[in-house]
Point group: C2
Chain length 530, copies 2
Amino acid sequence: MSRPRSWWGWGWADRALDAEASRRLAARVAAFGLPLDGTLARVPDPAGLGLPEPRLTPPASLAELCRTDPLTRAAHTHGKAYRDVVRNLRGELDHAPDLVAYPRSEADLVALLDWAVADDVAVVPYGGGTSVVGGVECRDRSRPVLSIDLTGLSGVVEVDEISRAARIRAGTLGPELEDQLRPSGLTLRHFPQSFEFSTLGGWLATRAGGHFATGHTHIEDLVAAVRVVTPAGVAGSLRVPGSGAGPSPDRLWLGSEGTLGVITEAWVRVQSRPRFRAAAAVRFEEYADAVAATRDVVQSGLQPANCRLLDRLESMLGAGVRDGSCRLLLGFESADHPVDSALNRAVQLCRARGGHPDAPTREKEMRADAPDAVAEWRDTFVSAPYLRDALARLGAVVETFETACTWAGFDALHAAVIDAVAHAGIAINGSPALVTCRFTHVYPDGPAPYFTVYAAGRRGAEVAIWDQIKVAASEAIVANGGTITHHHAVGRDHRPWYDRQRPDPFALALRATKRALDPAGVLNPGVLVD
Amino acid sequence: MSRPRSWWGWGWADRALDAEASRRLAARVAAFGLPLDGTLARVPDPAGLGLPEPRLTPPASLAELCRTDPLTRAAHTHGKAYRDVVRNLRGELDHAPDLVAYPRSEADLVALLDWAVADDVAVVPYGGGTSVVGGVECRDRSRPVLSIDLTGLSGVVEVDEISRAARIRAGTLGPELEDQLRPSGLTLRHFPQSFEFSTLGGWLATRAGGHFATGHTHIEDLVAAVRVVTPAGVAGSLRVPGSGAGPSPDRLWLGSEGTLGVITEAWVRVQSRPRFRAAAAVRFEEYADAVAATRDVVQSGLQPANCRLLDRLESMLGAGVRDGSCRLLLGFESADHPVDSALNRAVQLCRARGGHPDAPTREKEMRADAPDAVAEWRDTFVSAPYLRDALARLGAVVETFETACTWAGFDALHAAVIDAVAHAGIAINGSPALVTCRFTHVYPDGPAPYFTVYAAGRRGAEVAIWDQIKVAASEAIVANGGTITHHHAVGRDHRPWYDRQRPDPFALALRATKRALDPAGVLNPGVLVD
């Protein structure tokens, strides 16, 4: 039997913190001023929650692809945002899909879509279900809702070792994808935080960003061709390394978040596994100096794999820094050549801005059994969502949000966001929310800051509290020229701000495209476009 | 008075080869087997060509923006492809625009588009006019045609030195753009072969590729935001370094070739001017080894600025190589750090495939007055189109075409294209056409091969001969999985193959978008979509 996933929270069911671990966590967070009542919310049994009766019966030909059991429906109701976890814990599953279908082939998927169009059924394409933007939660209840779980369409189908490309089905989860590429010595090297539980199709549909700070870290730079099933037919683009032929067809599907079609497979660009690596952590007394050094490094053209600047509070809470300084984590990797000179140059740029490397920089040729970037990243980040879930059960409000802005605009955006969130905390709880910031990606023209919020909750009011903080943060972001997404989608949760930022003629074009490809409007209603 | 541009051929009027230089050129090409009759076609005077009467009178408010003199209309009739030059020389200007307008502001442009929509006038957005795909030639004569020359909307408007970004008007020509960035020590570093005579707006509308072989060489990677006037309103995207918010709005306009709107300005990513440079030429006896070495270099992650592989015939005709070998030209550049180790590693990879560097590799810190990549490239390439024009006047058929394909597919594509063009030459002339190949860009997953064709012509039949060769070449490209464009657009000339390669649902989406943004269908009819 396969290891069970958590229906209500992140990841593996058996990784959820137990009562004792949760108590220790509560004690730790109390130390930095987050009051918790010490009780741990019980996880309900979906079978006892009285989910709304399914309003949908599949045709006989599709019946064996479909499930209606409460656990399956509950697990497909929400994504994995904080507000999803809280609602799951409270048994608020009003938005449960009526039916969950598991196509085993593209033909199954076509048949399911045909049926949905014929019977006016809303369709939610579902990959790993790790959306943090309401992307898989159909809130429009005017029609029955069919969640199509694509994890049955999985596997690396074909590897072109000469061209370093692989054809991979959309429902393939991250670890499965890397495992199947490993015998060829290749890697996609796309490691979003959700890596273990998200799919290639989900990455493509949301224009996911990977763990690496610079270079080809976004999935759109790693894709050579996509195949998409739409109600108006199947679209398959030509696999070429580059083309200037008209507007890019692939770019229409990338970021379309299930509204224009269902991605079934893609040709992606793979590469040799890294062999050389060098890393350093640089300490800065002043955040402004650290920001300037980070900018210098990314504008130098060095392309670090890791260039993660933690602000004071993030350094303290996330990296255990006790002296009030900031940390810039730098790392370089290559499959072909040593990277020590690149790291040395980056450290030199940091020194010129007052930075001090914590430890001697290191260079090594990686042994096959040595921990690689993935493993190291996994150690650091994989446990974070489990802690978040435990804090949610303890009654805290803990969530993250992201943006990207220009270097010239960053200081003002950073100050405004911190201020807005802290004030929202005061308005709600009488005490400021804690906000930390790190850069997840850096570009020559600006950083992608990623904020984490910790605030006191009130049982039953957690979602409302978070929503209030989120509005304050989003308004501050938009007012300061930042983009509005999370991991890295719009979904249903960012629609008000997205609609304001999107150029009106582009909205016209998107609506016209939607009408052309999905005239019945069955695909993921409420996302991106109405 | 400004230096006059050639109305009929490439570039500056005074750079056209004179009779004596043309005679010397004819002698040189006769040596490699291209028979020419020795006469030099006369350049006609547009005033004497009896251009069709303009069918269009601008409203009084727009009259001062418009010109109808024969020279202006003749210069805006065609692009700069071989078939354009030949038709100009023969005085075949049936497709002359009725009127040429020169907006001085976005408001002028909006007024011109409003008038065109109201009076059902076809609009051809015209930047530098260097299209080689029929992109600025309106062949549909059912409506009057207005060519809108955008070179009046020019200049660098704003530079954000912190974020390394500049806001630049779309009608800015390459040299003007670089001249205005130079005082800030910055460069866009986008150098298509047409650089001197093409505009930022044209690069964006055609998804232009620059001179550099790898890295951010395509204009789409250098643009942070665009502003576009459409009949349905003005679209301005948010300037952020990255965003995952829905399908990229900018990507709709990039490559839209004037069919969905007129680009008026863009925020582009600029960078420090390079200071370090290293280059080498590597000799290979076997082309297959050279191809494999080129692939190794680009898959190594080294990102050479130059990685130009010339096949045997290209090495002979283009680089003066006498011993029948091939050449790979390698170059690295950086504004920040020495690049000798990168070049050394690339050369080492070449040696492992049997390559021999011609000369010792060199590393230098560039002096301010030293020739830079631009100047060097200019020397090499700028004269090529002038030679092409002279050969056209001498009666030869000389043209280029491009594609991009996977590494796995390259050998078959290369052989098929050479074979198809040679055979087309035999069918037409009884002797094979000469075809050379070089790589203009290389990607980890494949090269962008660029072919040059030399064939005998027959006075009056040159266009038909070239069209026949082009069909043979295009069929061979498409049959072997290559993309179909030229510099780097579809225009009117590639429609039959583009329509076959484009996914049908994407065509539906594009048509729907066209109807939404340009309901009267006035924008560049015949290009991309009907």
